[in-house]
Symmetry: C2
Subunit: 265 residues, 2 copies
């Protein structure tokens, strides 16, 4: 089983990606994000995206109920269904779902978060975000077994049946672990992990658990979360994780041929 | 098998509806619309909804690609997932999908339509709307068989893999026919078919195919389409169709107990 995650940053080549995805023969679960479009549509609706920094320095999006509804529109509506359209156009019988459908991923909502604003600690309430605690692969296995390609997106489901914003890379990790995937491919707008974030030629081609700490120290911004999620995936049995570029032709084939950063045990 | 359609007009009591839906024991496919919210979000995004009248007097929404993307956001995103959340909160393991997923409903897009604007005939191009020609129940049957409640919404899939706006009542009819449903329940913001559209006490409690022409003549606006779709459903083998009110407590139980307008052969 292959788990493929496509990020949601700007500048990705969706057409090339779907062309290549349509050629994959191995049973696959396809997971996507939607961050850039989320920001764009939020602003269009007059809701300024609110990014907050927690006390341990982690940046995240504050998701009040209004923002969560925009998330449903962008991730589960526009992006998910446009990807399904693109796959159907290529003859792939895709089924677009979110992790709340069939209780695929459930977790705990953290309604209040401690953040730093202008250097001052502050408690923000009304957040619809949380972390995944359980994965139920029944629906995904049912779909893959019947020959469909599941196209999966956040949010996940809170303990009280409410949607919660969860990190897309962590969702991909949890799904890959729960399915016992051989490989988890994580695509974004970078060639992989870079030794120098300003230099795309400084690609780190391979990381093992032994030099994971070093890799984590090298990683900047969102890549830090990705490295953590990849380590977690490998430690919990996923064969290998590949970080690769979604801005190129044949991105999946290239990743499987060795492009990008490969993480192994 | 029960097929339940919930309209998308304003003023419906979603909480009461979901409370009642959670009590249904018969295998069910749940279909929803989203018209009022579609208009609301379109306007919020600065896209004025464009309703056009065809030469034979039928009113419809002109759906250019930008409008179609809003439809994906509202129907497949916000409304579909809020309904899934509401059902999950009540312990029902719902799975929200659109008719493009798994190629549930496919049809022909009519890219150009002849309309009357200010009494003058005009050809409008770039419409993403069409009519359903084929239904594949494989995915719905798979989900229902595994104990999930499918929550289904337009759009459907055009011949070239593009999403097309289709009428929700017609989608419900096609699904009920293809599944050989015993009953199709159609809920909206009216007690059923009214002899006098201004008088909610003038409910027509029962129609048979024999007096369908009379009922069709009585029906105004959207109800005309509903009566046509119901006739079609009955003629093609659905046991009975019920038009009922979604603004009341226990709407589904009441409809099954005889409230609303029952259409039989």
């Amino acid at each position: 089983m292959l788990v493929i995650k496509l990020g949601g940053s700007a500048g990705l080549d969706y057409e090339a990606f779907l062309d290549d995805l349509a050629r994959v023969e191995e049973p696959t679960v396809f997971i996507h994000g939607g961050n850039a479009e989320f920001d764009r549509v939020s602003k269009q609706l007059g809701i300024e995206p609110r990014h907050v920094t927690s006390q341990n320095g982690q940046s995240s999006r504050f998701t009040d109920r209004e923002t969560l509804d925009v998330m449903l529109m962008v991730y589960c509506g526009k992006i998910n269904k446009q990807l399904v359209e693109g796959l159907q156009r290529r003859g792939v019988n895709a089924v677009g779902i979110s992790a709340i459908d069939g209780r695929i991923a459930t977790g705990r909502r953290k309604p209040a978060i401690r953040v730093l604003e202008d250097g001052k600690p502050k408690m923000l309430r009304g957040d619809y975000a949380g972390s995944i605690e359980d994965v139920d692969t029944t629906l995904l296995t049912l779909l893959v077994g019947a020959g469909y390609l599941p196209v999966l997106t956040p949010p996940a489901l809170g303990r009280e049946g409410e949607a919660i914003n969860v990190d897309g890379d962590k969702l991909a990790t949890e799904i890959a672990v729960a399915l016992g995937a051989d490989q988890l491919l994580v695509f974004s707008n970078t060639p992989g992990l870079l030794a120098d974030v300003r230099d795309e030629n400084s690609l780190v081609t391979s990381i093992s658990l032994a030099n994971m700490a070093e890799a984590g120290a090298m990683a900047q911004g969102r890549m830090k979360k990705k490295v953590g999620a990849a380590q977690d995936a490998i430690e919990r049995g996923v064969g290998r994780v590949i970080f690769a570029d979604a801005r190129v032709e044949r991105p999946i084939s290239r990743a499987l041929e060795g492009a990008g950063t490969t993480i192994i045990a």
